[in-house]
């Protein structure tokens, strides 16, 4: 890198600089509307955010912000753990997972389209973040998982109807300061239940 204190004679002309400024301004406006807006908020006026796969980011950010506001409003909403039946012949598999603080895990069932699985899970007390979703085998690079539901809970149960051939299940993350143990039971139509590494 050559360094000289005096500017050389061949500096770019004001005309060129003005033109470059205009280009930069237009580019900045485009990036702002087409990329930053969808990535930071739930708005995507050009539709490019969805194509690029960043509109999801804005959606999640807005959802998280709303959740944070809702949590403050409701106070520490203590969700009583639902009396979920965790025994009996309804269930084929059970799994017990202990999550350390801020650890996440994925457990999925491989299912065919329209197969119906039953599930119930509870924690040993605290609430965990859960994201119930599915994805096809070998999803494309920017595949946004099919969502069945998400939230923060100490117990959930219900039926999962596979939207397509693939793996369907849960992502859990322990956002508390203490370890949390999750007990999952599953039954119904699916091939195998397993933890994804």
């Amino acid at each position: 890198m050559q360094q000289q204190d005096e500017p050389p004679d061949d500096l770019p002309s004001v005309r060129l600089l003005a033109w470059l400024s205009l280009c930069a301004l237009l580019l900045a406006a485009f990036i702002g509307v087409a990329v930053v807006l969808p990535a930071e908020t739930d708005r995507d006026p050009t539709g490019l955010g969805r194509v690029l796969g960043i509109a999801e980011m804005g959606r999640i950010k807005v959802a998280l912000a709303n959740e944070a506001v809702a949590e403050v409003k409701e106070g520490a909403r203590a969700k009583t753990s639902e009396a979920t039946q965790l025994t009996g012949s309804r269930w084929r598999d059970s799994m017990t997972i202990t999550l350390q603080p801020s650890q996440g895990i994925e457990v999925k069932m491989s299912m065919r389209t329209a197969e119906t699985a039953r599930y119930a899970w509870t924690t040993d007390g605290g609430e965990v973040y859960f994201n119930m979703h599915g994805e096809p085998p070998n999803p494309p690079k920017d595949y946004a998982a099919h969502r069945y539901g998400k939230g923060t809970s100490a117990a959930e149960s219900g039926e999962l109807v596979a939207a397509f051939d693939g793996v369907h299940g849960w992502f859990w993350r322990n956002r508390t300061e203490q370890p949390i143990t999750i007990t999952l039971r599953t039954g119904g139509e699916y091939l195998v239940l397993k933890e994804l590494k």
């Binding site: 360094q3 204190d5 600089l17 930069a24 690079k141």
Partner: protein, 234 residues
């Protein structure tokens, strides 16, 4: 004339002191970005590119360093050399740091970035060549600061608690995003600097501007060192 310059310098310093705390969060992980990464998984090329670019465009300390670097660089070729060397440096430590899980205290890294602003300002003021016998090789310095900055990026990435799925792809996308962000920031700084270089005030105030840059670097270092001792890093 001299007193007018120092008045202006003082006014700008005051402005900087007021502005600093409010932009202090610019370098940290925003709750939204982190939340997004924690709640998604798998390969996400464009989002990670976006996050990398966002980090560079909103990182005021790095932008100050860029101003210092191109202050006396008039030719695109020279800027290209700088960008390449810096990119090589930070790519090595970013990728190796994340894959090996090397996490450095964010305050320490940001203090080093502040020190890089000081170095560049002193270099522009010809302190090394005029007053000291030793002048650091600017290319080596660029690579070294690139390596430091990469470690800072790696620490930030590890802070995102990335899943294993698609880790390398996301990492590379983030690295490319850093380059894109740096390029965009450089374009804006370069256009602004080019306008200024055409006016007579450039030669007149060049020294004052670099003294201001030096002060900003000192302020950054003090701010980060203070943070290291008072705040608990997350």
């Amino acid at each position: 004339m001299r007193s007018a310059t120092s008045m202006r310098t003082r006014a700008l310093l005051l402005l900087l002191a007021v502005a600093l705390p409010s932009v202090a969060y610019a370098h940290g992980v925003t709750a939204g970005d982190k939340g997004y990464i924690m709640e998604t998984f798998g390969t996400r090329i464009v989002p990670f590119m976006y996050l990398g670019a966002k980090h560079m465009v909103t990182g005021y300390d790095h932008l100050l360093f860029l101003v210092g670097v191109i202050f006396y660089l008039y030719r695109l070729k020279d800027i290209g050399v700088y960008v390449t060397l810096f990119a090589v440096g930070h790519s090595i430590t970013l990728i190796a740091g994340v894959l090996m899980g090397v996490q450095v205290n964010a305050f320490v890294i940001d203090a080093v970035i502040g020190a890089s602003v000081i170095y560049k300002a002193l270099d522009n003021l010809s302190v090394f060549s005029r007053w000291l016998r030793y002048e650091p090789n600017p290319r080596t310095a660029t690579v070294v600061f690139g390596l430091c900055h990469g470690l800072g990026l790696a620490t930030k990435m590890l802070d995102f608690e990335l899943g294993k799925a698609g880790l390398l792809e996301n990492l590379l996308a983030f690295n490319v995003g850093v380059e894109v962000g740096q390029f965009l920031a450089l374009c804006v700084i370069l256009i602004a600097m080019s306008f200024w270089r055409r006016s007579a005030s450039f030669v007149r105030y060049a020294t004052a501007a670099n003294v201001l840059l030096l002060m900003s670097g000192v302020a950054l270092v003090i701010y980060q060192v203070n943070g290291y001792f008072t705040a608990s890093p997350t």
